[in-house]
């Protein structure tokens, strides 16, 4: 078994059905993507904090796989979380893609892997 990676907790959470982020034990700052040290206070101590699973769509693009031409295109997006983080995700209902739309994370399978995907819950505010 290799070294434990900073991001392993995130995928273990996904496999349990939880959306998590690192939260610093020193100052409470949340961070994503994962990193070994808090950039705000320098603490190496942290715990995995469950997130609300809510978000707002900041931008989206259509992603076609470059060599698997028959694959359905994916709608890759940037999602702003109310906790102040930003995540890259992909939309389960691309027909509703609209900048500013509210979304909710759904842990769903793509290509045999469980991933944090999003579905819209409402139009732009």
């Amino acid at each position: 078994m290799g070294p434990r990676r900073d991001q392993d907790f995130f995928w273990e959470g996904i496999d349990r059905g939880e959306l998590l982020a690192q939260q610093c034990d020193g100052c409470g700052t949340l961070r994503h993507p994962p990193a070994p040290r808090c950039a705000a206070c320098g603490s190496d101590e942290w715990h995995a904090q469950p997130l609300s699973g809510e978000g707002t769509l900041l931008a989206f693009i259509e992603s076609n796989h470059p060599t698997r031409r028959d694959d359905e295109p994916r709608c890759v997006c940037l999602v702003d979380l109310p906790e102040g983080l930003r995540m890259v995700s992909s939309l389960l209902d691309p027909e509703n893609a609209e900048d500013g739309a509210t979304v909710r994370f759904e842990i769903a399978e793509y290509d045999g892997q469980m991933l944090p995907l999003v579905r819209t819950t409402g139009g732009s505010q």
Partner: protein, 380 residues
Amino acid sequence: MSARAGQTAITGIGQTAYTKDSGRTVMSQCVEASAKAIADAGLERGDIDGLVSFTMDTNSDHDLQTALALPMVRWTAKAPFGGEGAYATFQLAAAAIESGQANNVLIFRAFNERSESRFGQPTYNAGSMRDFHKSLGLVTPGQVYAMWHKPFLDARGMTSEDLGELVVQMRAWAATNPDAWFYGRPITLEDHQRSRWIVKPVLRLYDFCQETDGGVAFVVSRLDTARASGRPVVRVLGVQQAWPLGESMMYNYYKKNLVFPEDTVHVANALWEQTGLSPAEIDVSTIYDNFSPSIPISYEGYGLCKPGEVRDAIRAGELGPGGSTPVNTNGGLIGEAYLHGLNNATECVRQMRGTSPNQIEGAKVALCAGRQCGMVLVRE
């Protein structure tokens, strides 16, 4: 901290043919370009005592030294990553020369980027370990960049048609550059808009740079050596890098304001401070254009127009032939070749020597611009 104006000059440039299938090893192209640069500088192999490239370059310093029979190398350094750090190589060369640790530094970059190791091909497949980008569908560089280009383009009200207007200008330059892949092949806006979507709604086929096999090299020398040579002096008046916390070369999604190119603005301000020049004094520029949206982002970042006015500049044709701010007169990475950005630096040198195929009359100051590094050259 302010740096004094540079005490080095680019004395030699060399390049191989730019092809799609070289049929040769990468090292053989590296050697050819390097030997041409040394000869172009009027130097002998014994004069070269420094070697600089990128961390992404695969040519070993030792193999290159052996092939060129350089008797003694006293300085080696690698700029971070690849293209976005391309012009940082000149800062590393200057650091060695200005501190007396080398006299003539060879900068090199060669690859079979089209026929062997294409960046545009995915390195990710269904069996790969999950991550925060590739797993979610950002598999190729075009997708990775387009994801953060989009908020900038939206903020500027720019559409694919505006990028098309820009690419038409880049291809017009390439059409009259015999070294360019698209030599003799200008396009119209209609051609651009008919080219297929690769990353909808940002990048069409013609918004991409040209994956290329080839090599390019430079010799950077002491300014007094260059002045004594009797050849045109192309002085590196300023060269800077900036990597502000929060910016990321590829996955640039996590900074608060996705529209403001903080890294580029830092590079630009440091260059103006170092050189005592201002954007208005730039006669000709090259801008690192792996994808067409990189041009408007950097054009604004370097102050070649006011923030928010780049769309108007593009629409007015200001970047193309006859424009007031000529950009990528070689055709750039989109029109000439993708030598990881360094072929845009050779064009700046040619402009300062007066030998560009698209020479800007009387040009004496050139800006060689990248996102996280940039360089100002002057013809003495």
